[in-house]
């Protein structure tokens, strides 16, 4: 259960981070100093990994809830 919650929380943070880069909150793109051409690839990778991890984490939480 702990692993599931941790993974989901980390994944949500990753997705928020990706959104932050995409919408350039607080001028984050400049402060990260990343190349523009690779930035969108990074955002895509972060989104995919984030959503994937959310599902994975929720599966573990769901399994724990079922076993109770």
């Amino acid at each position: 259960m702990i692993v599931g919650i941790m993974q989901s929380m980390v994944a949500v943070l990753i997705v928020i981070f990706a959104c932050g880069i995409y919408f350039n909150f607080f001028d984050i793109q400049t402060s990260l100093n990343a190349a523009v051409e690779s930035l969108y690839l990074h955002i895509l990778a972060l989104f995919v990994f984030g959503f994937f991890s959310i599902i994975s984490g929720l599966f573990l939480v769901h399994e724990w809830l079922e076993s109770r």
Partner: protein, 497 residues
């Protein structure tokens, strides 16, 4: 339980008209006129109507042969089985959701226009608040759908026909600017006319409402095809005449006016009352279409849920009102997001693309069923078989790709979104069919693989063998995330079914 057949030919035609006469004409003419085809929108409308009629022949044959509840979903399921039927159901659902979002945006536009007639300063404020108003409209309509609101009767069809007839007659009595309605000098050449045809195609989609209600029509073998043909023969000239008058009174300027095109034309043709009358008509049509789309999308979602493709929770019925509240709320959430975008052009194309794909599948189903079930009772047979359904498939697919030749950004966005949603639909199907535990194990395996790969890549980048994967994230954070991913992957991969 067998449904009672009580609708005659007159009611069948009215049903086709009530489906086809909708909000689309109030919102889709603007972009088509000012950006795509100019005054050739009259030709584009005639073409859209004729292609729709061609496709409707296939609907007639299938609707008369299988007059059960379910429409396209039933035909495609009989011809190709569950998988393709599921895809078609999803596209039909998406088309309904996009159309509902478009209706919400149209309502907001018409409301802003109506207010601007009395308090001109308010229009810009209302247009700026369009996402919020559109969301509020969807919430109100969804609530009334959950409470089981009654649909407006046939009087609304007659009211619309009367308003349009007055508009056309008044317009024709005025001295209209001579129009170049044939596609000789359209804004974007012949591709512009075809793009306008695609864009305005949703104006005729509603005619399918007749097919969906075939189970309630007396002598469906005769009345369904007759109803479709009569509705088409009334709607096509009606819309073409409206476009003819509107383009005649509003010259094609360099810049697109801020107010809706048809309302401006009505203001010119019927000074004093025309604009407001059309705004009220547009609002009524939008609300009616939004309510219908909410019902349609919920019934499609419940149908797919009943067949096991979507979660059973969508079948839940409200204890007090007896309505499918979960399916309505689920669809409303999508509609709210889409209507908040407020991009009319994108929504118009997206609604068109979803329906065109279903049209292609329906025509393919007819071809397949003629071979698969040659002795099936067919009270109506599509004329000029097999050319008519083949032409239907070709036209549907051609219309899908034509705006791409024009490099229309809105069409490209709609197509890319369509491809993305198709991928999502296919993934949903496979995931649903796979079962939860097998999916959990698969996700566990992938998570484990990603975690191990991340650890390896981070170690290699630390040793300067490869460049860092995400240079702005410290290596120790990546390692912690990888460790969590590996542990979660192992736990998921070893889950017990």
């Amino acid at each position: 339980m067998k449904t009672k057949r009580e609708l005659g030919l007159f009611n069948t035609v009215i049903m086709g008209l009530s489906g086809a006469i909708g909000f689309e004409i109030f919102v889709l003419l603007d972009y088509a006129y000012f950006h795509l085809a100019g005054s050739s929108i009259v030709s584009a409308l005639l073409l859209a109507g004729l292609i729709n009629l061609l496709i409707m022949f296939s609907y007639c044959e299938l609707g008369a042969a299988m007059p059960e509840v379910g429409g396209e979903y039933t035909y495609i399921k009989t011809a190709y089985g569950g998988y393709i039927a599921f895809i078609s159901g999803c596209f039909r659902w998406l088309a309904s959701v996009f159309a509902a979002a478009l209706a919400a945006v149209c309502f907001t536009q018409q409301l802003a226009y109506l207010f601007s007639l009395f308090v001109p300063e308010i229009e810009s404020f209302m247009l700026a608040q369009m996402p919020l108003i559109a969301i509020a409209v969807v919430i109100i309509l969804a609530t009334s759908e959950i409470k089981g609101a009654k649909k407006p009767g046939i009087f609304i069809v007659f009211a619309f026909i009367a308003i349009f007839a007055i508009f056309i007659a008044s317009g024709l009595l005025r001295e209209l600017t001579p129009l170049e309605i044939l596609p000789k000098q359209p804004l974007e050449g012949l591709p512009g006319v075809f793009a306008a045809t695609v864009y305005m195609f949703p104006m005729f989609f509603g005619m399918r409402a007749l097919i969906a209600s075939a189970a309630f029509i007396k002598h469906p073998g005769k009345n369904v095809p007759k109803g479709i043909l009569l509705s088409a023969l009334l709607i096509i000239p009606l819309y073409a005449s409206i476009a003819y008058v509107a383009t005649g009174v509003i010259p094609l300027e360099e810049t697109r006016p801020p107010a809706p095109f048809l309302n401006l034309a009505a203001e010119n043709v019927l000074p004093g009352v025309g604009g407001a009358l059309f705004a009220i008509a547009g609002m009524v049509a939008s609300l009616s279409a939004l309510g219908t789309s909410l019902t349609v999308q919920s019934s499609i979602a419940r149908g797919m849920s009943r067949d096991g493709y979507l979660p059973k929770v969508l079948l839940s019925i409200h204890r007090r009102f007896g309505t499918p509240y979960v399916a309505i709320i689920a669809g409303s959430l999508f509609i709210m997001v889409l209507s908040a975008i407020g991009a009319v052009e994108f929504l118009g194309y997206a609604a068109s693309f979803g329906s065109l794909l279903v049209f292609a599948l329906v025509n393919l189903s007819l071809l397949k069923l003629r071979k698969k079930k040659p002795y099936m009772e067919r009270p109506f047979k599509t004329p000029l078989y097999p050319f008519t359904p083949i032409a239907g498939v070709i036209m549907s697919v051609t219309l899908l790709v034509f705006p791409m030749f024009l490099r229309d950004v809105n069409a490209a966005s709609a197509l890319v979104s369509g491809i993305g949603l198709t991928t999502l639909v296919l993934m949903t199907y496979y995931l649903r069919m796979m079962g939860r535990y097998r999916l959990q194990i698969a996700i566990g395996g992938v998570g484990l693989g990603i975690g191990v790969s991340l650890v390896l890549l981070t170690c290699l980048s630390e040793a300067c063998f490869v460049s860092p994967i995400l240079p702005y994230i410290p290596s120790y954070i990546i390692l912690v995330i990888s460790a969590i991913s590996i542990i979660a992957g192992i736990l998921n991969a070893t889950a017990h079914g």
